[in-house]
């Protein structure tokens, strides 16, 4: 029931008016088109101690994601599958509006929406990550640290998680005598099936814009995050914020998410193949 800090960023009334007016004329205050994403930069392998890592910059939003692989017990009901655990933390260094402490509901939503995209698209083939069925499985942790907040953490974190996983090398564990699990010291590629890409659109007035900045998020009426897989199918969706959408707006946003998602997917593939 807590009210959160990031959503309480205050934008001056005049600035707000200026933004709404510009957007109604299909312009944005930073000069972008309504459906234009900010520049996406991805750096890989920046954390040597992680099994995979990435630093993603989406405009001024910056996220570092790291993959850590261990062995552990499987989740209840999923005894023959590896475990995938995703987290996100908005660090106090990310914005003057963020304070240290347990995660607020916005941060919990962020982690759960990013998780939903990766999980529902079945990006990681968890069936291939059981060691002793029912007892020992691979446990993959992907943790996101938000370094700088300038809006659209959903997409920035999602791209960070996806590119960290794509560039990761998992330690190879072996089962000896059906009992003991040992780390062979070898590495393998993770079993990946698809590249989920989320696209977040927000509604300001009657216009829908993509990849909002912090300032735009502070003025938004409603938000929608749509994740597609490599086949262009929808895998996850989350509407957020206190406004509402018409059915037509949702159908249109879904189509944009499919088209823009493919563009971003191509970009992620390109950026993750360089230097790897």
């Amino acid at each position: 029931m807590s009210s959160s800090k990031r959503s309480t960023i205050i934008v001056e009334h005049l600035r707000k008016q200026q933004m709404r007016e510009a957007i109604s004329r299909s312009k944005r205050l930073d000069g972008r088109d309504l459906d234009e994403m900010r520049t996406l930069e991805i750096e890989l392998g920046i954390i040597g101690k992680a099994d995979g890592s990435s630093r993603v910059r989406l405009g001024n939003s910056e996220v570092v994601a790291g993959v850590k692989v261990e062995t552990g017990t499987p989740f209840e009901g999923l005894e023959n599958k590896g475990a995938l655990i995703l987290s996100a933390e908005v660090l106090p260094i990310a914005s003057p509006y963020v304070e240290p402490g347990p995660p607020d509901e916005e941060t919990i939503e962020l982690a759960r929406v990013v998780d939903r995209g990766v999980r529902e698209s079945e990006m990681v083939d968890l069936d291939k990550l059981a060691l002793i069925p029912g007892k020992v499985v691979y446990t993959i942790f992907v943790d996101c640290s938000i370094i700088n907040y300038d809006g659209n953490l959903f997409d920035a974190s999602s791209y960070a998680v996806v590119s960290a996983l794509m560039s990761s090398k998992l330690p190879v564990f072996e089962v000896q005598d059906g009992e003991a699990v040992v780390n062979t010291g070898k590495k393998m590629d993770p079993p990946l099936t698809t590249i989920p890409v989320s696209i977040t659109a927000v509604k300001i007035g009657d216009s829908v814009i993509l990849d909002p900045t912090a300032e735009e998020e502070a003025c938004m009426d409603a938000r929608i995050t749509i994740t597609t897989n490599s086949e262009g199918k929808f895998a996850a969706l989350q509407k957020g914020s206190t406004g509402s959408f018409t059915i037509d707006e949702i159908k249109k946003a879904a189509e944009i998410a499919r088209i823009k998602g493919e563009e971003v997917r191509t970009k992620i593939k390109e950026l993750t193949s360089n230097g790897h």
Binding site: I108, E109, A111, K233, T242, S244, I247, I250, A254, E255
Partner: protein, 246 residues
């Protein structure tokens, strides 16, 4: 998400005997929590949920108060005995997220600007969960808000549609949620024609996506009728209901 058994039989019927466009049994009772300013109890399939509204009332802690509008607070909570294996009573991350989306689903329907410096608290307690509890919770909560006499632009019915055995079906139950391939909960304001909650878990192509959206919307319209009748029943009794029907 592993398909272990057939969820739709050769007659096109589902595990609980419903057709693909059929809702589970929905029953709403208004005003069952005596101390609350407004309340509703909903039976939605095997879901058993109580929603209670307190407010508009003074805000505690005071710094949360807004000078120009009312603060809406929502708590979605599952009782420990509501699920197959006992649920830890401490709020889980899932419950925190649902509380948030539930608040955002209800807020567009409320005239919060009419109650500056005050708070409205909505408590949704799931006594028994049967899949679709967030939708049933929103449905009950919006009836409870109306019962509390809060100024509203519209009422908010909610319903899910999803994909089971390759088919798009209305109102996913517990088994279909766990074993089916997609679940799309939706909340909708029927008079304003606006969607206030939308989520999706699972894979759908563009065509299925649109079909799912339209089907969930139809479900919301059916649930709206049940909400309306429950409110009429409470405030005007059976007689009025009959007059209204004819």
């Amino acid at each position: 998400m592993v398909q272990t058994r057939s969820l739709i039989d050769e007659h096109g019927l589902r595990t609980d005997g419903r057709t693909m466009d059929e809702l589970r049994n929905v029953k709403i009772q208004v005003g069952i929590v005596k101390n609350a300013d407004g309340s509703a109890y909903i039976e939605f399939g095997k879901n058993r949920i109580v929603a209670a509204v307190y407010g508009p009332r003074e805000v505690h802690p005071k710094h949360m108060a807004q000078p120009d509008r009312c603060v809406l607070r929502c708590r979605y909570h599952m009782s420990p005995f509501s699920t197959d294996t006992r649920k830890n009573p401490a709020p889980s991350r899932r419950e925190v997220e649902i509380s948030k989306v539930m608040r955002e689903a209800l807020e567009p329907a409320l005239m919060l600007e009419d109650y500056p410096r005050a708070a409205i608290d909505v408590f949704v307690e799931v006594l028994q969960a049967d899949g679709g509890s967030r939708c049933a919770g929103i449905t009950a909560a919006s009836v409870a808000l109306a019962d509390a006499g809060i100024n509203m632009r519209d009422i908010v019915p909610a319903c899910a549609a999803g994909k089971v055995d390759g088919k798009i079906v209305l109102d996913i139950n517990d088994v279909e949620d766990k074993e089916g391939s997609a679940d799309m909960p939706l909340a909708y304001m029927p008079h304003l024609d606006r969607v206030t909650l939308l989520q999706l878990d699972g894979i759908l192509n563009q065509e299925e996506f649109n079909e799912c959206l339209d089907k969930a919307l139809q479900g919301c319209k059916m649930i709206y009728e049940i909400q309306r009748r429950a409110l009429i029943q409470k405030y005007f009794g059976d007689e009025q209901e009959l007059k209204e029907e004819s």
